[in-house]
Assembly symmetry: C2
Amino acid sequence: MNRRTVGRQPKYQRIAADLKAAIAAGTYTPGQRIPGENDLMATYEVARMTARQALATLRSEGLIEARKGAGIFVRQYEVVIRRRGVQRLSLNLWAQGKSVWSADIDDRSLEVDSVSVMEEPAPKGVAATLDTPAEAPVCVRRRRFLLDGRPVLFATSYLDAELVAGTAITQPDTGPGGIYARLDEIGHKPVHFREEIRSRMPNAEETAGLGLTPGTPVTLICRTAFAEDGRAVEVNDMVLDSSAYVLEYEFDA
Amino acid sequence: MNRRTVGRQPKYQRIAADLKAAIAAGTYTPGQRIPGENDLMATYEVARMTARQALATLRSEGLIEARKGAGIFVRQYEVVIRRRGVQRLSLNLWAQGKSVWSADIDDRSLEVDSVSVMEEPAPKGVAATLDTPAEAPVCVRRRRFLLDGRPVLFATSYLDAELVAGTAITQPDTGPGGIYARLDEIGHKPVHFREEIRSRMPNAEETAGLGLTPGTPVTLICRTAFAEDGRAVEVNDMVLDSSAYVLEYEFDA
DNA sequence: AAGTGGTCTAGACCACCAC
DNA sequence: TGGTGGTCTAGACCACTTT
C-alpha cells in the first residue's frame, strides 16, 4: 500500500498522463506501437487491470487503438471527407479562402453499399415535420456509404408514402438525379434545406455498422427538404463516423 | 467456468444488453436509479469488475451516469440550445417549418464567464488562414459561456495582432457590438463566414472545464470570418458540450 | 510457439453520500 | 453508519496475431 506516496492521484491517471505526454511530444508517432499491458505492468509495477484502465483512458480520448493479439497503437486520423453544406456557389470570391481544417476527399466520391426501401411508421419528430398522421407508415429509405470500402455514413430518408407512391422513390434505384429529381417531377421540387447537427456516442449497432474504433463519436445530421410551398417533403437522418468527416457551411452576413 | 453455457457472448455484454433493454422499455426512466455494482454482482453472480464493465458500456454510450456514493442513474438530457448558423432571415417562409429536434433555449441567452486576452503564436492552420507569419504572435481571446451557471462552450478567437492593435479588441470588454463592430470601424467588416464542424472525445481539460459527464463528446466549430476583400479577419475555435447543443443551418437550393 | 489484448475471479481499502 | 462507486491486487484462461 504505497498509496500515500503520490499526491492523491490514482495510479492509472499518472500512467495515462505519462503516455499522453509521450504521444504529444512525438516520442510515439501515429501508427506506431506503444507499451502494452504487460509492459506497463512491469515498468510501473501495477496489476493488469490498472494498466488496462490507464490505456482505457487514452482509448476513450481517441488517442490509441488496441489490436487484439498485436498490441496498442497510436491512432492516426488520415482520410477526411469535406462535406459542404452549401456547395452551389462554386466560383465565388470566398472559395479561395484558406480553410483551417484540411480535407483530402470530397463528399461525392462515396459509393453506396446497401439500399433498403420499406414502409414503416415514422419516428415521432419526423411525423410531425412531414405533417403525416402520427402512426401512419411512411416511405423509409436506408443506405450505407463507403469510402474506399470503409463505411463512413448511414442515411435514412423519410418521405410521405402517399406523396411518393408510384414513383421511383419507392424503388431501390431512384434513377438519374435521385430522390430530388423525382420529387421535382411530381411537382414538389426541394428548394430550401435545414440541417440540424448533433453529436453523441454510438450504440453497439452503429459501432459495428460503421466499423468505429472505441472512443469515436458519431455526428448526426438531420436534413429537412422544403418545397416551394413550404411543405417539408423529405427528412434525411444521417449518422456519420465523426473521425472521417469535416462539415462545412458557408453563408453571408 | 460456466462460460460455454452462453453462446460466445461475454457476460458483461449480456448484462449491459439487459440494462439497455430495460431502459429502452421504460422500466427505468430518466433520472431514476438503476441496479448498481453490488446488485448486478448478486443477481448475475459475477465479480465486481465484470459488473463494472457492464456499467462502463452504458456509460460510454451516454445512457447512464454514476454518482459517487449515491448510485447509478439513467441520464436525462434536458436543456438544449439551438444555435442557428444563419439567423438573419428572420421572417421568411421556412421559419415556420417544424423542426425535428426541439430546442428550448436560444444561443443568445448565454452568459460569459471568464475572458482572457493575450498575444500568442497562432496554431499552424490558423496562421495559414489568417495569412500571418508562421510563428508570429496573434491576438488570442478566450471565453467561456454558461447556461444557468453550467458551462457549455469554450470560444477562442484568433486575430491578426497588427490589424487589431489599438482597438478594444485587445481589451477584455470589446464594447457594444463586440469584435465584429470594432473590425467594421477599422474598415474590415466581416461579411462572409465559413464554419467547419467536427466532433471528438474531449481531453481531460475539456472534460473538467465543461463539467462533462463521461461518455459525452465535444462538438468543434471553427468559424472563419471574411471581410469584403476576401481577407480572413478572424478565426473562432469553439468547443461545445455536445449534449447541450443542436446546430442548425438553413440554406436555399 | 510466444506474445498480445479481452474477459473474469475473489478478494481489499478508500472517499463520498444519504440517512 | 452503512451503502455506494472508485481504485487496486494477483492471479487465471481465452482468442487472436505474429513470428
